[in-house]
Symmetry: C2
Subunit: 306 residues, 2 copies
Protein backbone atom coordinates (compact mmCIF):
# COMPACT_ATOMS: atom_id res chain seq x y z
CA UNK A 1 0.00 0.00 0.00
CA UNK A 2 1.48 3.35 -1.09
CA UNK A 3 1.70 6.06 1.53
CA UNK A 4 -1.38 8.30 1.23
CA UNK A 5 -0.98 11.58 -0.64
CA UNK A 6 -1.73 14.68 1.37
CA UNK A 7 -5.22 15.96 0.69
CA UNK A 8 -6.28 19.25 -0.85
CA UNK A 9 -9.44 20.58 -2.46
CA UNK A 10 -13.06 20.74 -1.38
CA UNK A 11 -14.49 18.09 0.88
CA UNK A 12 -17.95 17.58 2.26
CA UNK A 13 -18.86 16.30 5.71
CA UNK A 14 -21.27 13.89 4.06
CA UNK A 15 -24.77 13.91 5.54
CA UNK A 16 -25.80 10.49 6.82
CA UNK A 17 -29.10 9.03 5.62
CA UNK A 18 -31.34 7.15 8.05
CA UNK A 19 -34.18 4.72 7.61
CA UNK A 20 -37.44 5.35 9.43
CA UNK A 21 -36.13 3.31 12.36
CA UNK A 22 -33.13 5.69 12.58
CA UNK A 23 -30.74 3.06 11.26
CA UNK A 24 -28.14 4.39 8.83
CA UNK A 25 -28.98 3.65 5.20
CA UNK A 26 -25.69 2.61 3.62
CA UNK A 27 -26.96 2.42 0.03
CA UNK A 28 -28.23 5.99 0.04
CA UNK A 29 -24.93 7.07 1.56
CA UNK A 30 -23.01 5.40 -1.26
CA UNK A 31 -25.24 7.10 -3.81
CA UNK A 32 -24.67 10.54 -2.27
CA UNK A 33 -20.92 9.92 -2.02
CA UNK A 34 -20.75 8.94 -5.69
CA UNK A 35 -22.55 12.10 -6.68
CA UNK A 36 -20.22 14.25 -4.54
CA UNK A 37 -17.20 12.61 -6.14
CA UNK A 38 -18.68 13.29 -9.57
CA UNK A 39 -18.72 16.97 -8.54
CA UNK A 40 -15.03 16.83 -7.55
CA UNK A 41 -15.77 16.94 -3.85
CA UNK A 42 -13.97 14.65 -1.42
CA UNK A 43 -15.64 12.69 1.35
CA UNK A 44 -15.19 13.85 4.92
CA UNK A 45 -17.70 11.26 6.11
CA UNK A 46 -18.46 11.22 9.85
CA UNK A 47 -18.03 14.95 10.28
CA UNK A 48 -20.09 17.11 12.59
CA UNK A 49 -22.64 17.65 9.83
CA UNK A 50 -22.78 13.89 9.23
CA UNK A 51 -24.35 13.49 12.68
CA UNK A 52 -21.30 11.31 13.27
CA UNK A 53 -21.44 12.04 16.97
CA UNK A 54 -24.88 10.47 17.07
CA UNK A 55 -23.49 7.21 15.66
CA UNK A 56 -21.68 4.45 17.54
CA UNK A 57 -18.22 3.31 16.50
CA UNK A 58 -19.74 0.06 15.25
CA UNK A 59 -22.21 1.91 13.05
CA UNK A 60 -19.39 3.99 11.58
CA UNK A 61 -17.21 0.93 10.93
CA UNK A 62 -20.11 -0.78 9.20
CA UNK A 63 -20.76 2.27 6.98
CA UNK A 64 -17.07 2.61 6.14
CA UNK A 65 -16.92 -1.05 5.14
CA UNK A 66 -19.98 -0.55 2.99
CA UNK A 67 -18.39 2.41 1.21
CA UNK A 68 -15.23 0.41 0.57
CA UNK A 69 -17.19 -2.61 -0.64
CA UNK A 70 -19.12 -0.34 -3.00
CA UNK A 71 -15.86 0.72 -4.60
CA UNK A 72 -15.64 4.25 -3.20
CA UNK A 73 -12.00 5.19 -3.68
CA UNK A 74 -10.32 5.32 -0.22
CA UNK A 75 -7.98 8.04 -1.48
CA UNK A 76 -11.03 10.35 -1.48
CA UNK A 77 -12.05 9.49 2.09
CA UNK A 78 -11.24 11.56 5.19
CA UNK A 79 -13.51 10.03 7.85
CA UNK A 80 -13.96 11.69 11.20
CA UNK A 81 -12.58 9.36 13.87
CA UNK A 82 -12.18 11.43 17.05
CA UNK A 83 -14.27 10.41 20.05
CA UNK A 84 -14.34 11.23 23.74
CA UNK A 85 -12.88 7.84 24.61
CA UNK A 86 -9.30 7.07 23.65
CA UNK A 87 -10.20 3.47 22.87
CA UNK A 88 -13.00 4.49 20.50
CA UNK A 89 -10.74 6.87 18.61
CA UNK A 90 -8.04 4.20 18.28
CA UNK A 91 -10.54 1.61 17.08
CA UNK A 92 -12.15 3.67 14.32
CA UNK A 93 -8.86 5.28 13.25
CA UNK A 94 -7.20 1.88 12.92
CA UNK A 95 -10.10 0.66 10.83
CA UNK A 96 -9.89 3.69 8.54
CA UNK A 97 -6.15 3.22 8.07
CA UNK A 98 -6.58 -0.47 7.30
CA UNK A 99 -9.11 0.43 4.59
CA UNK A 100 -6.53 2.75 3.04
CA UNK A 101 -8.30 6.04 3.77
CA UNK A 102 -6.25 9.05 2.64
CA UNK A 103 -6.57 10.59 6.07
CA UNK A 104 -8.74 10.97 9.13
CA UNK A 105 -10.28 14.13 10.56
CA UNK A 106 -9.73 13.97 14.29
CA UNK A 107 -11.66 15.80 16.97
CA UNK A 108 -9.95 16.15 20.33
CA UNK A 109 -11.65 14.28 23.19
CA UNK A 110 -14.43 16.77 23.85
CA UNK A 111 -16.27 15.86 27.04
CA UNK A 112 -13.84 17.10 29.66
CA UNK A 113 -13.45 20.87 29.41
CA UNK A 114 -10.60 23.22 30.21
CA UNK A 115 -8.09 20.47 29.60
CA UNK A 116 -4.48 21.44 29.05
CA UNK A 117 -2.50 21.38 25.82
CA UNK A 118 -0.30 18.86 27.63
CA UNK A 119 -3.27 16.55 28.12
CA UNK A 120 -4.47 16.99 24.55
CA UNK A 121 -0.98 16.34 23.21
CA UNK A 122 -0.85 13.15 25.28
CA UNK A 123 -4.23 12.14 23.91
CA UNK A 124 -3.28 12.54 20.24
CA UNK A 125 0.14 10.98 20.89
CA UNK A 126 -1.45 7.97 22.55
CA UNK A 127 -3.76 7.48 19.56
CA UNK A 128 -0.87 7.76 17.11
CA UNK A 129 1.29 5.30 19.04
CA UNK A 130 -1.55 2.81 19.44
CA UNK A 131 -2.60 2.92 15.80
CA UNK A 132 1.09 2.54 15.05
CA UNK A 133 0.92 2.84 11.28
CA UNK A 134 3.11 4.69 8.77
CA UNK A 135 -0.04 5.09 6.67
CA UNK A 136 -1.86 7.19 9.27
CA UNK A 137 -2.49 10.80 8.18
CA UNK A 138 -4.27 12.96 10.73
CA UNK A 139 -6.07 16.20 9.91
CA UNK A 140 -6.83 17.85 13.23
CA UNK A 141 -10.36 19.11 13.72
CA UNK A 142 -10.67 22.46 15.48
CA UNK A 143 -14.32 23.34 16.06
CA UNK A 144 -14.58 25.24 19.35
CA UNK A 145 -18.16 26.49 18.82
CA UNK A 146 -19.40 22.90 19.10
CA UNK A 147 -16.68 20.77 20.70
CA UNK A 148 -15.86 23.49 23.27
CA UNK A 149 -12.40 21.93 23.37
CA UNK A 150 -10.10 23.56 20.85
CA UNK A 151 -6.72 22.80 19.35
CA UNK A 152 -4.50 25.86 19.77
CA UNK A 153 -1.91 26.87 17.15
CA UNK A 154 0.75 26.05 19.78
CA UNK A 155 -0.59 22.52 20.09
CA UNK A 156 -0.83 22.16 16.32
CA UNK A 157 2.80 23.18 15.99
CA UNK A 158 3.87 20.79 18.69
CA UNK A 159 1.99 17.84 17.20
CA UNK A 160 3.07 18.50 13.62
CA UNK A 161 6.68 18.96 14.68
CA UNK A 162 6.66 15.77 16.71
CA UNK A 163 4.79 13.70 14.11
CA UNK A 164 5.59 15.45 10.80
CA UNK A 165 4.57 12.48 8.64
CA UNK A 166 1.37 11.85 10.58
CA UNK A 167 -0.14 15.15 11.69
CA UNK A 168 -0.35 16.75 8.27
CA UNK A 169 -3.23 19.21 8.35
CA UNK A 170 -6.15 20.81 10.13
CA UNK A 171 -9.73 21.82 9.50
CA UNK A 172 -10.36 25.16 11.20
CA UNK A 173 -14.05 25.55 12.01
CA UNK A 174 -13.46 28.31 14.52
CA UNK A 175 -15.16 30.77 12.20
CA UNK A 176 -12.28 33.12 13.07
CA UNK A 177 -10.06 34.05 10.15
CA UNK A 178 -7.33 35.25 12.52
CA UNK A 179 -7.02 31.73 13.83
CA UNK A 180 -6.86 30.22 10.34
CA UNK A 181 -4.24 32.77 9.42
CA UNK A 182 -2.22 31.95 12.54
CA UNK A 183 -2.22 28.31 11.47
CA UNK A 184 -1.05 29.25 7.97
CA UNK A 185 1.69 31.42 9.47
CA UNK A 186 3.12 28.54 11.51
CA UNK A 187 5.20 27.71 8.45
CA UNK A 188 4.90 23.95 8.88
CA UNK A 189 6.14 22.10 5.82
CA UNK A 190 3.37 21.02 3.46
CA UNK A 191 0.83 21.33 6.26
CA UNK A 192 -2.70 21.40 4.87
CA UNK A 193 -4.97 24.06 6.33
CA UNK A 194 -8.64 23.67 5.41
CA UNK A 195 -11.19 26.37 6.07
CA UNK A 196 -14.21 25.04 7.93
CA UNK A 197 -16.60 26.55 5.42
CA UNK A 198 -16.49 27.90 1.87
CA UNK A 199 -17.01 31.35 3.37
CA UNK A 200 -13.25 31.51 3.92
CA UNK A 201 -12.27 29.51 0.84
CA UNK A 202 -10.90 32.31 -1.32
CA UNK A 203 -9.11 33.98 1.59
CA UNK A 204 -7.63 30.62 2.57
CA UNK A 205 -6.41 29.84 -0.95
CA UNK A 206 -4.84 33.29 -1.31
CA UNK A 207 -2.99 32.73 1.95
CA UNK A 208 -1.61 29.32 1.09
CA UNK A 209 -4.40 27.10 2.37
CA UNK A 210 -5.38 23.71 0.98
CA UNK A 211 -9.12 24.13 0.43
CA UNK A 212 -12.17 23.74 2.60
CA UNK A 213 -14.33 21.12 4.28
CA UNK A 214 -17.80 22.55 4.16
CA UNK A 215 -21.28 21.39 5.13
CA UNK A 216 -22.89 23.15 2.20
CA UNK A 217 -20.67 21.18 -0.18
CA UNK A 218 -23.34 18.51 0.34
CA UNK A 219 -25.72 20.57 -1.79
CA UNK A 220 -23.59 23.10 -3.66
CA UNK A 221 -20.48 21.08 -4.53
CA UNK A 222 -19.87 22.13 -8.12
CA UNK A 223 -19.83 25.84 -7.45
CA UNK A 224 -17.60 25.48 -4.40
CA UNK A 225 -15.19 23.32 -6.34
CA UNK A 226 -15.22 25.85 -9.15
CA UNK A 227 -13.95 28.55 -6.81
CA UNK A 228 -11.29 26.17 -5.51
CA UNK A 229 -10.15 25.47 -9.07
CA UNK A 230 -10.40 29.10 -10.25
CA UNK A 231 -9.25 30.98 -7.20
CA UNK A 232 -6.58 32.77 -9.19
CA UNK A 233 -8.99 33.84 -11.95
CA UNK A 234 -10.46 37.35 -12.24
CA UNK A 235 -13.91 35.94 -11.46
CA UNK A 236 -12.89 34.53 -8.08
CA UNK A 237 -14.35 37.33 -5.94
CA UNK A 238 -17.65 37.13 -7.77
CA UNK A 239 -17.72 33.36 -7.29
CA UNK A 240 -17.05 33.77 -3.59
CA UNK A 241 -19.96 36.22 -3.33
CA UNK A 242 -22.28 33.75 -5.02
CA UNK A 243 -21.23 31.01 -2.63
CA UNK A 244 -21.77 33.32 0.32
CA UNK A 245 -25.28 34.11 -0.86
CA UNK A 246 -26.27 30.45 -1.03
CA UNK A 247 -24.66 29.65 2.27
CA UNK A 248 -26.45 32.60 3.83
CA UNK A 249 -29.81 31.20 2.81
CA UNK A 250 -29.10 27.71 4.18
CA UNK A 251 -27.59 29.12 7.38
CA UNK A 252 -30.88 30.75 8.34
CA UNK A 253 -31.95 27.25 9.43
CA UNK A 254 -30.35 24.59 11.62
CA UNK A 255 -27.62 23.41 9.26
CA UNK A 256 -27.98 19.62 9.30
CA UNK A 257 -31.79 19.47 9.00
CA UNK A 258 -31.60 22.13 6.27
CA UNK A 259 -29.03 20.19 4.24
CA UNK A 260 -31.07 17.02 4.58
CA UNK A 261 -34.26 18.80 3.53
CA UNK A 262 -32.50 19.96 0.36
CA UNK A 263 -31.11 16.50 -0.39
CA UNK A 264 -34.56 14.99 0.28
CA UNK A 265 -36.00 17.42 -2.22
CA UNK A 266 -33.53 16.85 -5.02
CA UNK A 267 -33.38 13.09 -4.61
CA UNK A 268 -37.18 12.96 -4.22
CA UNK A 269 -36.59 10.66 -1.24
CA UNK A 270 -38.27 12.10 1.87
CA UNK A 271 -36.34 9.73 4.13
CA UNK A 272 -33.31 11.96 3.61
CA UNK A 273 -35.00 14.51 5.88
CA UNK A 274 -34.78 12.14 8.86
CA UNK A 275 -32.34 13.20 11.59
CA UNK A 276 -31.37 11.41 14.76
CA UNK A 277 -32.31 13.00 18.06
CA UNK A 278 -31.30 15.37 19.58
CA UNK A 279 -31.65 17.06 16.19
CA UNK A 280 -35.07 17.91 14.85
CA UNK A 281 -36.12 17.94 11.20
CA UNK A 282 -37.29 21.20 9.65
CA UNK A 283 -41.01 21.84 9.81
CA UNK A 284 -42.89 21.81 6.52
CA UNK A 285 -43.05 25.60 6.64
CA UNK A 286 -39.32 25.91 7.17
CA UNK A 287 -38.63 23.48 4.38
CA UNK A 288 -40.90 25.29 1.93
CA UNK A 289 -39.39 28.66 2.79
CA UNK A 290 -35.84 27.35 2.44
CA UNK A 291 -36.47 25.70 -0.92
CA UNK A 292 -38.38 28.70 -2.21
CA UNK A 293 -35.60 31.09 -1.32
CA UNK A 294 -32.98 28.81 -2.88
CA UNK A 295 -34.99 28.58 -6.11
CA UNK A 296 -35.26 32.36 -6.25
CA UNK A 297 -31.51 32.76 -5.77
CA UNK A 298 -28.75 31.98 -8.22
CA UNK A 299 -28.63 28.43 -6.78
CA UNK A 300 -28.74 25.92 -9.62
CA UNK A 301 -31.04 23.20 -8.31
CA UNK A 302 -30.84 21.44 -11.66
CA UNK A 303 -27.21 20.63 -10.93
CA UNK A 304 -28.42 18.55 -8.01
CA UNK A 305 -30.28 15.99 -10.09
CA UNK A 306 -28.23 12.87 -10.50
CA UNK B 1 -36.91 -9.38 39.45
CA UNK B 2 -38.57 -6.87 41.79
CA UNK B 3 -39.00 -3.34 40.47
CA UNK B 4 -36.06 -1.23 41.68
CA UNK B 5 -36.64 1.00 44.69
CA UNK B 6 -36.08 4.68 44.11
CA UNK B 7 -32.67 5.78 45.29
CA UNK B 8 -31.78 8.21 48.04
CA UNK B 9 -28.68 8.97 50.08
CA UNK B 10 -25.09 9.76 49.22
CA UNK B 11 -23.53 8.32 46.09
CA UNK B 12 -20.06 8.61 44.68
CA UNK B 13 -19.12 8.88 41.02
CA UNK B 14 -16.56 6.15 41.59
CA UNK B 15 -13.08 6.97 40.28
CA UNK B 16 -11.86 4.42 37.74
CA UNK B 17 -8.46 2.80 38.30
CA UNK B 18 -6.15 2.19 35.36
CA UNK B 19 -3.16 -0.05 34.81
CA UNK B 20 0.03 1.44 33.43
CA UNK B 21 -1.21 0.69 29.91
CA UNK B 22 -4.33 2.78 30.63
CA UNK B 23 -6.55 -0.29 30.75
CA UNK B 24 -9.20 -0.21 33.49
CA UNK B 25 -8.28 -2.29 36.53
CA UNK B 26 -11.50 -4.09 37.51
CA UNK B 27 -10.17 -5.60 40.72
CA UNK B 28 -9.10 -2.28 42.18
CA UNK B 29 -12.48 -0.88 41.18
CA UNK B 30 -14.26 -3.64 43.07
CA UNK B 31 -12.10 -2.98 46.11
CA UNK B 32 -12.89 0.75 46.09
CA UNK B 33 -16.60 0.05 45.56
CA UNK B 34 -16.68 -2.33 48.51
CA UNK B 35 -15.05 0.28 50.72
CA UNK B 36 -17.51 2.97 49.60
CA UNK B 37 -20.43 0.64 50.35
CA UNK B 38 -18.96 -0.03 53.80
CA UNK B 39 -19.14 3.74 54.34
CA UNK B 40 -22.83 3.80 53.31
CA UNK B 41 -22.12 5.44 49.99
CA UNK B 42 -23.82 4.22 46.81
CA UNK B 43 -22.08 3.65 43.51
CA UNK B 44 -22.64 6.11 40.70
CA UNK B 45 -20.00 4.36 38.60
CA UNK B 46 -19.27 5.88 35.18
CA UNK B 47 -19.93 9.43 36.27
CA UNK B 48 -18.02 12.46 35.04
CA UNK B 49 -15.48 11.98 37.83
CA UNK B 50 -15.11 8.32 36.87
CA UNK B 51 -13.56 9.42 33.57
CA UNK B 52 -16.49 7.51 32.11
CA UNK B 53 -16.44 9.66 29.01
CA UNK B 54 -12.89 8.47 28.35
CA UNK B 55 -14.09 4.84 28.30
CA UNK B 56 -15.75 2.97 25.46
CA UNK B 57 -19.13 1.31 25.91
CA UNK B 58 -17.41 -2.08 25.75
CA UNK B 59 -15.03 -1.11 28.56
CA UNK B 60 -17.95 0.01 30.71
CA UNK B 61 -19.93 -3.16 30.03
CA UNK B 62 -16.92 -5.23 30.97
CA UNK B 63 -16.43 -3.31 34.24
CA UNK B 64 -20.11 -3.55 35.10
CA UNK B 65 -20.04 -7.30 34.53
CA UNK B 66 -16.98 -7.54 36.74
CA UNK B 67 -18.73 -5.64 39.55
CA UNK B 68 -21.77 -7.91 39.28
CA UNK B 69 -19.61 -11.04 39.21
CA UNK B 70 -17.79 -9.81 42.31
CA UNK B 71 -21.08 -9.67 44.17
CA UNK B 72 -21.54 -5.90 44.29
CA UNK B 73 -25.20 -5.43 45.05
CA UNK B 74 -26.96 -4.03 41.92
CA UNK B 75 -29.44 -2.20 44.14
CA UNK B 76 -26.52 0.08 45.09
CA UNK B 77 -25.49 0.81 41.50
CA UNK B 78 -26.45 3.89 39.47
CA UNK B 79 -24.13 3.70 36.47
CA UNK B 80 -23.81 6.60 34.06
CA UNK B 81 -25.09 5.46 30.68
CA UNK B 82 -25.64 8.61 28.59
CA UNK B 83 -23.52 9.01 25.45
CA UNK B 84 -23.54 11.23 22.40
CA UNK B 85 -24.80 8.41 20.24
CA UNK B 86 -28.33 7.11 20.75
CA UNK B 87 -27.24 3.55 20.04
CA UNK B 88 -24.46 3.71 22.65
CA UNK B 89 -26.84 4.99 25.31
CA UNK B 90 -29.36 2.26 24.50
CA UNK B 91 -26.71 -0.45 24.60
CA UNK B 92 -25.20 0.42 27.97
CA UNK B 93 -28.55 1.26 29.56
CA UNK B 94 -30.01 -2.06 28.47
CA UNK B 95 -27.03 -3.85 29.93
CA UNK B 96 -27.39 -2.02 33.24
CA UNK B 97 -31.09 -2.85 33.44
CA UNK B 98 -30.42 -6.50 32.66
CA UNK B 99 -27.93 -6.63 35.54
CA UNK B 100 -30.61 -5.27 37.86
CA UNK B 101 -29.06 -1.88 38.55
CA UNK B 102 -31.25 0.29 40.75
CA UNK B 103 -31.07 3.10 38.22
CA UNK B 104 -28.96 4.80 35.61
CA UNK B 105 -27.63 8.35 35.58
CA UNK B 106 -28.21 9.68 32.09
CA UNK B 107 -26.41 12.54 30.41
CA UNK B 108 -28.17 14.10 27.46
CA UNK B 109 -26.41 13.65 24.10
CA UNK B 110 -23.80 16.34 24.52
CA UNK B 111 -21.93 16.90 21.26
CA UNK B 112 -24.47 18.96 19.33
CA UNK B 113 -25.06 22.27 21.06
CA UNK B 114 -28.06 24.59 21.25
CA UNK B 115 -30.39 21.68 20.67
CA UNK B 116 -34.05 22.13 21.52
CA UNK B 117 -36.00 20.66 24.42
CA UNK B 118 -38.08 18.96 21.73
CA UNK B 119 -34.96 17.23 20.39
CA UNK B 120 -33.76 16.25 23.86
CA UNK B 121 -37.19 14.92 24.78
CA UNK B 122 -37.16 12.83 21.60
CA UNK B 123 -33.70 11.56 22.50
CA UNK B 124 -34.64 10.39 26.01
CA UNK B 125 -37.97 9.02 24.73
CA UNK B 126 -36.22 7.04 22.02
CA UNK B 127 -33.85 5.52 24.60
CA UNK B 128 -36.73 4.63 26.91
CA UNK B 129 -38.76 3.03 24.13
CA UNK B 130 -35.79 1.09 22.81
CA UNK B 131 -34.70 -0.21 26.20
CA UNK B 132 -38.36 -1.08 26.68
CA UNK B 133 -38.15 -2.31 30.26
CA UNK B 134 -40.41 -1.75 33.27
CA UNK B 135 -37.27 -2.06 35.38
CA UNK B 136 -35.59 1.00 33.87
CA UNK B 137 -35.17 3.89 36.30
CA UNK B 138 -33.55 7.01 34.87
CA UNK B 139 -31.94 9.74 36.94
CA UNK B 140 -31.32 12.64 34.58
CA UNK B 141 -27.87 14.18 34.70
CA UNK B 142 -27.76 17.97 34.42
CA UNK B 143 -24.18 19.21 34.29
CA UNK B 144 -24.07 22.28 32.04
CA UNK B 145 -20.57 23.41 33.08
CA UNK B 146 -19.13 20.32 31.39
CA UNK B 147 -21.74 18.88 29.04
CA UNK B 148 -22.75 22.35 27.78
CA UNK B 149 -26.10 20.76 27.02
CA UNK B 150 -28.45 21.10 29.95
CA UNK B 151 -31.78 19.63 30.98
CA UNK B 152 -34.18 22.46 31.79
CA UNK B 153 -36.79 22.18 34.56
CA UNK B 154 -39.43 22.32 31.80
CA UNK B 155 -37.90 19.31 30.10
CA UNK B 156 -37.59 17.48 33.42
CA UNK B 157 -41.26 18.06 34.09
CA UNK B 158 -42.22 16.92 30.62
CA UNK B 159 -40.16 13.73 30.84
CA UNK B 160 -41.23 12.82 34.38
CA UNK B 161 -44.88 13.45 33.53
CA UNK B 162 -44.70 11.37 30.40
CA UNK B 163 -42.68 8.54 31.97
CA UNK B 164 -43.53 8.75 35.69
CA UNK B 165 -42.31 5.24 36.50
CA UNK B 166 -39.12 5.61 34.50
CA UNK B 167 -37.81 9.17 34.82
CA UNK B 168 -37.65 9.27 38.59
CA UNK B 169 -34.92 11.72 39.54
CA UNK B 170 -32.13 14.06 38.61
CA UNK B 171 -28.61 14.93 39.62
CA UNK B 172 -28.18 18.69 39.44
CA UNK B 173 -24.54 19.60 38.89
CA UNK B 174 -25.30 23.10 37.68
CA UNK B 175 -23.73 24.51 40.83
CA UNK B 176 -26.76 26.83 40.94
CA UNK B 177 -28.99 26.39 43.97
CA UNK B 178 -31.79 28.28 42.25
CA UNK B 179 -31.93 25.58 39.62
CA UNK B 180 -31.96 22.78 42.20
CA UNK B 181 -34.71 24.59 44.04
CA UNK B 182 -36.71 25.00 40.84
CA UNK B 183 -36.50 21.22 40.36
CA UNK B 184 -37.68 20.61 43.91
CA UNK B 185 -40.55 23.03 43.37
CA UNK B 186 -41.84 21.15 40.34
CA UNK B 187 -43.83 19.04 42.79
CA UNK B 188 -43.32 15.80 40.88
CA UNK B 189 -44.41 12.79 42.91
CA UNK B 190 -41.56 11.01 44.67
CA UNK B 191 -39.09 12.57 42.26
CA UNK B 192 -35.54 12.28 43.60
CA UNK B 193 -33.43 15.43 43.38
CA UNK B 194 -29.75 14.92 44.10
CA UNK B 195 -27.37 17.79 44.63
CA UNK B 196 -24.31 17.49 42.43
CA UNK B 197 -21.98 18.00 45.37
CA UNK B 198 -22.12 17.81 49.14
CA UNK B 199 -21.82 21.60 49.19
CA UNK B 200 -25.59 21.75 48.70
CA UNK B 201 -26.42 18.62 50.69
CA UNK B 202 -27.93 20.22 53.78
CA UNK B 203 -29.84 22.81 51.76
CA UNK B 204 -31.13 20.06 49.50
CA UNK B 205 -32.27 17.86 52.39
CA UNK B 206 -34.02 20.78 54.09
CA UNK B 207 -35.88 21.48 50.84
CA UNK B 208 -37.05 17.93 50.26
CA UNK B 209 -34.14 16.58 48.23
CA UNK B 210 -32.95 12.97 48.14
CA UNK B 211 -29.23 13.35 48.87
CA UNK B 212 -26.19 14.05 46.76
CA UNK B 213 -23.91 12.45 44.20
CA UNK B 214 -20.53 13.90 44.94
CA UNK B 215 -17.01 13.42 43.62
CA UNK B 216 -15.46 13.95 47.04
CA UNK B 217 -17.53 11.06 48.40
CA UNK B 218 -14.72 8.99 46.88
CA UNK B 219 -12.44 10.15 49.68
CA UNK B 220 -14.69 11.58 52.39
CA UNK B 221 -17.66 9.22 52.33
CA UNK B 222 -18.30 8.69 56.04
CA UNK B 223 -18.57 12.37 56.92
CA UNK B 224 -20.79 13.14 53.95
CA UNK B 225 -23.06 10.24 54.83
CA UNK B 226 -23.15 11.42 58.42
CA UNK B 227 -24.59 14.76 57.34
CA UNK B 228 -27.12 12.95 55.15
CA UNK B 229 -28.18 10.81 58.12
CA UNK B 230 -28.14 13.66 60.66
CA UNK B 231 -29.42 16.56 58.59
CA UNK B 232 -32.17 17.25 61.11
CA UNK B 233 -29.78 17.24 64.08
CA UNK B 234 -28.51 20.42 65.79
CA UNK B 235 -24.99 19.64 64.57
CA UNK B 236 -25.98 19.65 60.90
CA UNK B 237 -24.70 23.14 60.08
CA UNK B 238 -21.36 22.42 61.71
CA UNK B 239 -21.09 19.16 59.77
CA UNK B 240 -21.83 21.00 56.55
CA UNK B 241 -19.06 23.50 57.31
CA UNK B 242 -16.59 20.70 57.89
CA UNK B 243 -17.51 19.09 54.58
CA UNK B 244 -17.14 22.42 52.82
CA UNK B 245 -13.69 22.87 54.28
CA UNK B 246 -12.47 19.51 52.96
CA UNK B 247 -14.07 20.02 49.59
CA UNK B 248 -12.47 23.45 49.38
CA UNK B 249 -9.02 21.95 49.81
CA UNK B 250 -9.55 19.28 47.14
CA UNK B 251 -11.18 21.76 44.75
CA UNK B 252 -7.99 23.83 44.58
CA UNK B 253 -6.74 21.13 42.20
CA UNK B 254 -8.20 19.50 39.10
CA UNK B 255 -10.83 17.29 40.74
CA UNK B 256 -10.25 13.87 39.17
CA UNK B 257 -6.44 13.84 39.45
CA UNK B 258 -6.75 15.16 43.01
CA UNK B 259 -9.17 12.42 44.05
CA UNK B 260 -6.96 9.80 42.49
CA UNK B 261 -3.87 11.17 44.21
CA UNK B 262 -5.65 10.86 47.56
CA UNK B 263 -6.83 7.30 46.84
CA UNK B 264 -3.32 6.39 45.65
CA UNK B 265 -1.99 7.71 48.93
CA UNK B 266 -4.38 5.90 51.24
CA UNK B 267 -4.32 2.63 49.33
CA UNK B 268 -0.53 2.88 48.98
CA UNK B 269 -1.01 1.95 45.31
CA UNK B 270 0.55 4.61 43.08
CA UNK B 271 -1.26 3.23 40.05
CA UNK B 272 -4.42 4.90 41.37
CA UNK B 273 -2.89 8.23 40.34
CA UNK B 274 -3.02 7.26 36.65
CA UNK B 275 -5.53 9.19 34.55
CA UNK B 276 -6.45 8.77 30.91
CA UNK B 277 -5.63 11.61 28.53
CA UNK B 278 -6.81 14.32 28.08
CA UNK B 279 -6.52 14.53 31.88
CA UNK B 280 -3.13 14.96 33.49
CA UNK B 281 -2.04 13.59 36.86
CA UNK B 282 -1.05 16.00 39.61
CA UNK B 283 2.61 16.89 39.76
CA UNK B 284 4.55 15.64 42.77
CA UNK B 285 4.49 19.15 44.20
CA UNK B 286 0.74 19.45 43.80
CA UNK B 287 0.22 16.05 45.35
CA UNK B 288 2.41 16.85 48.35
CA UNK B 289 0.72 20.19 48.92
CA UNK B 290 -2.76 18.65 48.67
CA UNK B 291 -2.00 15.82 51.08
CA UNK B 292 -0.25 18.14 53.50
CA UNK B 293 -3.17 20.52 53.62
CA UNK B 294 -5.63 17.67 54.08
CA UNK B 295 -3.58 16.26 56.97
CA UNK B 296 -3.52 19.68 58.63
CA UNK B 297 -7.30 20.02 58.32
CA UNK B 298 -9.98 18.14 60.21
CA UNK B 299 -9.91 15.49 57.47
CA UNK B 300 -9.63 12.06 59.05
CA UNK B 301 -7.14 10.26 56.80
CA UNK B 302 -7.21 7.27 59.13
CA UNK B 303 -10.81 6.62 58.11
CA UNK B 304 -9.53 5.97 54.62
CA UNK B 305 -7.50 2.91 55.50
CA UNK B 306 -9.36 -0.24 54.55
Amino acid sequence: MAAPERISGVLSPVVTPFEGNLRPDPDSLVQHCRWLLSQNVGLAVFGTNSEANSLSVEEKISLLDHLADAGIEPSRLMPGTGHCALTDTVKLTTHAVNLGCAGVLMLPPFYYKEVSDEGLFASFAEVIERVGSDELRIYLYHIPPIAHVGISPDLVERLASHYPQTVVGIKDSSGDWNNTNALLQLGLEDFRVFAGSEGFLLQNMRSGGAGCVSATANVNPAAIHQLYADWQSPSADALQQELDQIRGIVAKYPMIPALKAIVADFTRDPRWAIVRPPLVALTDDQKSALLKELRQSNFDMSALID
